[in-house]
Subunit: 516 residues, 2 copies
């Protein structure tokens, strides 16, 4: 057994059995070892931000880490922005980054770089293996680091000689530390606080937006009169008709300020106090009203599920009836040109039960979030770190984790170009993903932002940085070129036909929605 095989077998032993990758020469022994360790599933991405974003999506849906396989510093660098997003999602990921053989390091060959330097800003744990005999143990440590609550990025650097030298053992999985719990006194204190007659927001993030924890949060809110709120960009939330209603914190700071106006108490459940996404001249960054009391039920690394269960007991809320999302039965016309609202209506109407929606529609979906929530029950995944080009890879990884579920990616054309290579992996793995590209032919959100930051202009110089209309992207050609069946919709009716057809079939599809 060589180091690469020891590494792979140790990852599998630690229950990491999917590897998204794009290898190079220094990773060839790892690649060869994939034939010896059949339990590891290799998934190729044609650019590393697909690889890392897929690992994020996989982690969000599988609840466990995948490995990535990246080629030296530049390969890692190409995947950093989606590691940034993954870190903001608290997604556990184990990066395996090849390096030059240790004997080669001192020659500063063309591909040499400061790999650990690239890794540190996005990693909670970084280690470089020093021997083939330790890589198995290093892998087990990396998995444990990634799985540390609430989920971390672990980066293991693998000099080529540690992959090709002889190894002798497979490392056993390491036990995880018990999950940190909110103290009973904290539960009691928060229960007391909730009994006070204060206008209260319960701001929830992470695992507490899923399953029984979400229901518990809903019942606590119903029992105590608190308002149940989630961050603008929750990594994952269970939504849809009959699911617990959770208000979303608005994206724009001034709207969020208005939304929170009058709040006297904020209770954080795995969340942090709301702040503005960007700063603007003469606008506040801190969104909690002055004088509002801030209390913490759980920090992000603490067990929000257990804390909510205990809090539900403490407030005696089991019989409270949580507010749930109701299916809307409003009718709308299918005549005329396509706009973002009608897309949201059509998606909402036809989304199948238990789908996964990955949203990077930005200006085209932000206003229709509530509407989308009235669809059949589904998981909704958000762009957590603000680095665009996230959600097509996230869908790809979600598709590997949940092959039986329909996935819908809602994405702006500007975002979609960032990691367009994702479509090829979706085709190769025959994932059941439908990508809706909002073709508004510009970075529309930035047109708004240009005004909002107080820099009004519509001159040619500024627009040259914001408009994608010369030339227009032809998404049907791009999608087909990458192996994904693609159609264009210019009208509401055409979009509905395309979307219904896509929902009725399995496999990757793309719909270019031409916005009027």
């Amino acid at each position: 057994m060589n180091g690469a095989e020891s590494l792979l077998k140790s990852l599998v032993a630690s229950n990491v059995d999917v590897c998204f990758g794009n290898p190079g020469t220094s990773e060839m022994h790892f690649v060869a070892a994939l034939d010896a360790v059949k339990e590891m599933r290799p998934v190729l991405g044609l650019q590393e931000n697909v690889v890392t974003g897929a690992a994020d999506g996989y982690a969000r849906m599988a609840g466990k880490p995948a490995a990535t396989l990246l080629h030296l510093g530049p390969g890692l660098a190409n995947g950093l922005s989606n590691l940034h997003n993954a870190r903001r999602a608290s997604s556990p990921i184990v990066n395996i980054v090849g390096d030059h053989a240790s004997s080669h390091a001192r020659y500063d060959a063309p591909l040499a770089s400061d790999i650990a330097g690239f890794a540190r800003p996005v990693s909670d744990w970084v280690h470089s293996s020093t021997s083939a005999r330790t890589v198995g143990a290093d892998a087990a440590r990396a998995v444990r680091a990634a799985r540390e609550a609430p989920g971390q990025i672990a980066t293991l650097i693998l000099p080529a000689d540690t992959a090709w030298d002889a190894a002798e053992s497979v490392a056993a999985p390491l036990p995880l530390a018990p999950r940190a719990q909110a103290a009973p006194s904290t539960i009691d204190r928060i229960a007391d606080k909730l009994r006070a007659d204060l206008r209260t927001v319960l701001l929830v993030r992470g695992e507490a937006l899923l399953g029984d924890a979400l229901i518990a949060a809903g019942k606590i809110a119903a029992k105590t009169g608190a308002r149940l709120v989630c961050d603008t960009f929750a990594p994952r939330i269970e939504r849809g008709a009959s699911r617990v209603h959770v208000d979303r914190l608005p994206y724009f700071g001034e709207v969020a300020t208005e939304f929170l106006a009058g709040t006297q108490m904020l209770i954080l459940v795995g969340a942090r106090p709301p702040v503005s996404f960007f700063a603007y001249p003469d606008k506040p960054s801190w969104l909690t009203p002055d004088g509002c009391e801030v209390n913490v039920l759980t920090h992000p690394h603490e067990d929000s599920v257990a804390a909510l269960t205990a809090l539900l007991d403490a407030v005696d809320g089991h019989h409270a009836e949580e507010s749930v999302i109701k299916r809307e039965t409003t009718s709308f016309s299918l005549n005329g040109g396509l706009d973002a609202e009608s897309i949201a209506q059509i998606v909402t109407m036809h989304l199948p039960l238990n789908a996964i929606v990955a949203d990077e529609g930005i200006s085209s979906t932000l206003p229709y979030y509530d509407l989308l929530g009235t669809a059949a029950p589904h998981d909704f995944l958000n762009l957590t770190g603000g680095a665009i080009g996230s959600m097509m890879p996230v869908s790809t990884g979600a598709g590997i984790a949940c092959p039986e579920r329909k996935i819908v990616t809602l994405i702006g054309d500007g975002s979609a170009m960032y990691t367009v290579q994702s479509l090829w992996t979706q085709a190769r793995e025959n994932l059941d993903i439908v990508t809706v590209v909002y073709a508004n032919r510009g970075y529309k959100v930035l047109n708004n932002e240009l005004r909002r930051v107080g820099a009004p202009t519509d001159g040619a110089g500024a627009m040259a940085m914001l408009e994608l209309n010369t030339p227009s992207l032809d998404w049907v050609s791009i999608g087909q070129g990458l192996g994904v069946a693609s159609v264009r919709a210019n009208s509401k009716r055409a979009f509905e036909a395309a979307f219904v057809s896509a929902m009725a079939q399995r496999g990757p599809r793309l719909i270019e929605a031409i916005l009027e």
Copy 2:
């Protein structure tokens, strides 16, 4: 005047007048200022590795830095791998990276990250502006840092408030330090060495591969019997019929070792001693033969042009006749299927005078480098840092720098997918670039490397990471979708027709060359 305008005007005053960018909200004042500072040309890239790679290509051909405009840490991160390549090319670049307003920094908003941490591994100079009143001066310092010999990466971080606050001045350009010169005694010593009867290699890199310096190097070699050699991946070299003949150091270590066997003296001109690109089990990294004497005429930061001129005097070589490349007149058949060799033959035959060739063909072009050199005189640009996805952006930037010259990009399909977004910028700017995609449907070089590293396998697991054939990429669709007229060639005859047609017209084109 606000900080953004001061910055832009100061960049222009320092002779930086092209800005490749992809901005976000935190850069909106910079974007707005583009309307006030018309001397700055904005060029949009749809992913940041296009932006940074274009700045590399621009620098190689314009001989001066462009600015990049990048959105916070993730925007910079997306462009890091081509900054790695640019640094290995000694290309001067001034990165402007937006950051959150300083008042916003402490809130750790979703897009916050360690920007300086991302920047450091690829930057020779990093600074974060602290006030709108200093950004102009900071810009002048950044330009000076970028222009420090042999060319550096300077990264200026621009918190949003330093762009939007009031500024009062435009910074004057800073004088550069005089270029470091080889000592006269070094010239004399090297001249003496060259008179010794030793088998000598003159290894040349950088500016010495251009113009009169290259001719001087050729005459020195002719006069003294030294062999004139360049690195495998010279950033830029003037080649073609009638240009000075320079042997290229072979890519694979064992071939390079054989190439250098018997060399008794190595003289470095702006170059470093040759090392293997990768390490392999039981193969050497250091390629210079044991016992070979290594002498330095110039280090990379020293003036190789002046040193070669002085050395030519010292060896009294002005009347020596340099060895030049001869136009080959071999005939070849146009019948039958397409292969990499016939593409090289056709490109060589039809390349127009004064073209620029950007090569990332890897396994498809490495064997035909000598053949390509017999084309009409041209500049040849290489992938310097080994991070694939470099040369389509480099061509894009070269096209901005040299709008009157025909550019040909030779690129493998695996590489082309990395920064495929480049094609859109080529279309938008109507650049005269012809992209030849070698469609061999795999990372072919890695198939070779898998064997070379001693990890033979052809199992499904390994091949899943190396083959791009399920599904096949349709480059005509992809190119058209991005706005570039694209054709497919399945035969030698079809490729010749497509290439001749592309050479006869202006504007971006793509030829998908299906290799048999």
